[in-house]
């Protein structure tokens, strides 16, 4: 009896201490969480981390911000060493399955309320029915157009109304009129001329499926008729109609050319709105939805940065507190103010509605709810992306579309083999 009551008392005390705010009592050794973060400017990182520091003063944060060009390699080395370090890391959403399959992500299903997030965000965070990464931002490309150049060419602006969105066929006709080789002026460009992220929807618009549902087979998918048709169309932008500048693979360069009035129509991510406004205040531009094929449906890409927890962490409680804090409404509003990725929390869209009354945000909100398709969930996404990316590159420079795609499909199948066991 005494023993039981003693145990009860202990349990009670433990529960009570869990409820109480952190006691600033003795100088307990602080817990340190190591965080690997994207190399965004310090002003977009520190306020978030400081917010957590204020909420959990007993936890110390050691934040490492890694430049984009080396973030995946650095994570491979650090996670590949299979140590408890880092506790938290920024995770590109389509790599969720890759990290999860290799045991680098803690299952967050019990700790996240899926109902709070947009559907596409939860899909992008899931692998085999479980949520492995905490959605932290989303993405959506739109069509930017240079009003002056369209006016000069006598072209009506593409409608911002998602129901009346331009078809690719309409876009090409406009682009032909907007192209002027003598002035090195181009009608149209993708921001990412080679990345599956921006180009998969072309084929998906025609009913193509990016990968088998189990995530292991590309043959019969990326080399199917919709893909061949879509990417033949894409190839003609460069080789036949010559409306797109070839080989501009650095995604930051087409944006500069748009700003310099050398590209009239640009399909690019929403973050470019701020870039163009700040860098090129003289450019008058409008925003319209991502086009679809005349006979196809509207499909847009999505997914962006998520947050992962290392399952080997020695401080799971603190790491989960970090996730909880970063998933809070207040922090996600702060994050949107710092770096306006499309929000993943429904509450941000609802409570901050007045921020989203512009054409662009109305489009984005619609796309995320109705047309967004995350990249395929497969542990071999890095391999898939790289092989398809190389194939798309070669297609833009005139390679045989059907042959290139089927060779890529076979290579992907071979690479994905290793994840089946």
């Amino acid at each position: 009896m005494t023993r039981l009551s003693r145990r009860a008392a202990l349990a009670g005390a433990a529960a009570a201490s869990a409820l109480l705010p952190a006691r600033p009592l003795m100088a307990q050794p602080k817990t340190t969480l190591k965080v690997i973060w994207m190399g965004w400017p310090e002003g977009q990182v520190k306020p978030l981390m400081d917010s957590f520091r204020r909420a959990q003063p007993e936890v110390e944060l050691q934040v490492e911000t890694i430049p984009f060009v080396q973030i995946f390699q650095t994570l491979e080395v650090r996670l590949g060493a299979r140590t408890p370090d880092p506790d938290i890391f920024i995770c590109d959403s389509p790599l969720t399955a890759s990290y999860a399959a290799r045991g680098h992500l803690m299952d967050l299903t019990p700790y996240l309320d899926a109902g709070r997030f947009t559907k596409s965000a939860i899909e992008a965070a899931s692998w085999q029915g479980k949520i492995y990464s905490a959605p932290f931002g989303s993405s959506c490309p739109v069509l930017f157009y240079n009003k002056k150049l369209l006016r000069e060419a006598g072209i009506a602006f593409p409608p911002a109304d998602v129901a009346k969105r331009w078809t690719w066929e309409e876009l090409v006709e406009a682009a032909k009129k907007l192209t002027d080789p003598a002035k090195n002026q181009w009608g149209f460009s993708f921001e990412q001329q080679e990345r599956p992220y921006m180009l998969l929807p072309l084929a998906q618009s025609l009913g193509g499926v990016a990968l088998s549902p189990d995530g292991f087979k590309a043959s019969g998918y990326i080399d199917s008729p919709p893909f061949i048709e879509a990417y033949s169309f894409m190839q003609k932008l460069y080789t036949e109609w010559k409306v797109s500048p070839p080989g501009l693979f650095d995604p930051n360069l087409p944006v500069e050319q748009f700003g310099n009035g050398k590209i009239a129509l640009l399909v690019a991510g929403t973050f470019n709105e701020a870039t163009i406004k700040n860098k090129y205040p003289d450019i008058e531009f409008g925003v319209a939805p991502y086009p679809r094929f005349a006979k196809g449906k509207a499909v847009t890409p999505t997914g962006a940065w998520h947050i992962g927890v290392n399952p080997r962490t020695r401080h799971p409680k603190e790491a989960l507190a970090f996730i909880e804090h970063f998933m809070s409404h207040e922090l996600q509003v702060l994050w949107f103010e710092l770096r306006p990725y499309p929000p993943v929390l429904k509450s941000v869209w609802e409570k901050e509605a007045k921020r989203f009354e512009t054409d662009m945000w109305k489009i984005v909100r619609f796309e995320l709810e109705h047309t967004a398709v995350p990249r395929p969930a497969t542990p071999g996404f890095r391999e898939y992306e790289d092989i398809l990316r190389t194939a798309l590159r070669d297609i833009t420079t005139g390679a045989d579309v059907a042959k290139t795609l089927s060779a890529a499909a076979q290579r992907i199948d071979r690479e994905l083999e290793k994840y089946k066991a």
Binding site: V69, F72, Q73, E76, G80, R82, S98, A101, R102, G103, N184, W186, P245, P246, G247, L248, D250, L253, E256, Q257, K262, P379, R382, E383, D386, R389, T390, R393, D394, T397, A399, E415, K418, Y419, A421
Partner: protein
């Protein structure tokens, strides 16, 4: 080569120990682990399993590997002699410190202060097919724009040119240091004997430059075999495999295809090829026993 001094091992060890300890710990031990890793595979869960020669068997049966080997050898057969000849030419050009020459020396070394990744970013922009200044210049001269990095035919040549832009000043430094160590008296004596400039270079300078040249040849070979930043940042090994050098393949295997065994097998091949070439190059330039 004249025989060196025979000293007690204590003296020799004293000289060797600091550097060799560092090398053993921070280079040889990891290399040994990597070499062994070439015979292993990694399970998804991270356990390493012994697979014997399987990684190597897969390599030799993979046409992409042989394409890489072919391109890597082609690249090196051209770039190494090219860089060293240019570097030697530059070193001779700036050897005599007449007015302004020190400034030119510094100017020639300037590209080596530009890091490899920045070199790649810079030359990707300069050689862009549509917006690059080089094509702007060509257009102004009435020459049609060239695709450079973006064409199967020009990509490797572009890579050689850009790597040489960065490299020749660097190798010049070593050759210049070598030339400065050639005693002036020998030249003066040869001049009194009526030797022409070419004869002096051929029979006085060159024999004394064997060792610096051997160093530059071996170091340059290693540097060019291990180059991969331009492929990673600009060409992705393309177009159509035109710049798929072995080192880039190894990098891709490690960080994109997450196939550690293959990456380490490729690294081992790279080590062996550089080592073999180094032995050949050192043989070629060894001082003849006199």
């Amino acid at each position: 080569m004249k025989h060196g001094f025979r000293e007690s091992w204590v003296i020799v060890a004293l000289f060797l120990a600091p550097a060799l300890l560092g090398l053993a710990l921070f280079r040889l031990a990891p290399i040994l682990i990597a070499l062994i890793g070439g015979f292993t595979g990694t399970r998804l869960t991270g356990e390493t399993v012994w697979v014997g020669l399987q990684n190597y068997e897969r390599l030799v049966s993979d046409p992409a590997f042989w394409n890489s080997v072919r391109i890597t050898l082609l690249f090196n057969v051209i770039i190494n002699p090219l860089q060293i000849l240019i570097a030697l030419g530059l070193a001779l050009l700036v050897l005599r410190p007449t007015p302004l020459v020190p400034l030119f020396r510094a100017a020639y070394m300037a590209p080596m202060t530009v890091s490899l990744s920045l070199t790649s970013i810079l030359w990707a922009i300069l050689l862009e097919p549509t917006m690059g200044p080089v094509n702007g210049l060509l257009r102004a001269l009435g020459v049609p724009p060239q695709p450079f990095w973006r064409s199967e035919e020009q990509a490797l040549a572009t890579l050689i040119a850009v790597a040489s832009w960065k490299g020749v000043g660097y190798w010049m430094v070593f050759l210049l240091a070598g030339l400065l160590l050639v005693p002036k008296e020998l030249h003066e004596a040869a001049m009194i004997d009526g030797a022409s400039a070419w004869q002096r270079f051929r029979w006085v300078t060159l024999p004394l430059m064997r060792r610096p040249l051997a160093f530059v040849l071996v170091a340059d070979t290693a540097a060019n075999f291990l180059l991969f930043a331009p492929m990673y940042l600009i060409t992705q090994g393309g177009p159509n495999g035109a710049t798929a050098l072995l080192m880039f393949e190894a990098y891709q295997a490690a960080f994109t295809y997450l196939d550690r065994g293959r990456a380490l097998a490729l690294s081992t091949v790279i080590l062996l090829v550089i080592g073999l070439l180094a032995v050949l190059e050192l043989r070629l330039l060894r001082e003849r026993e006199s």
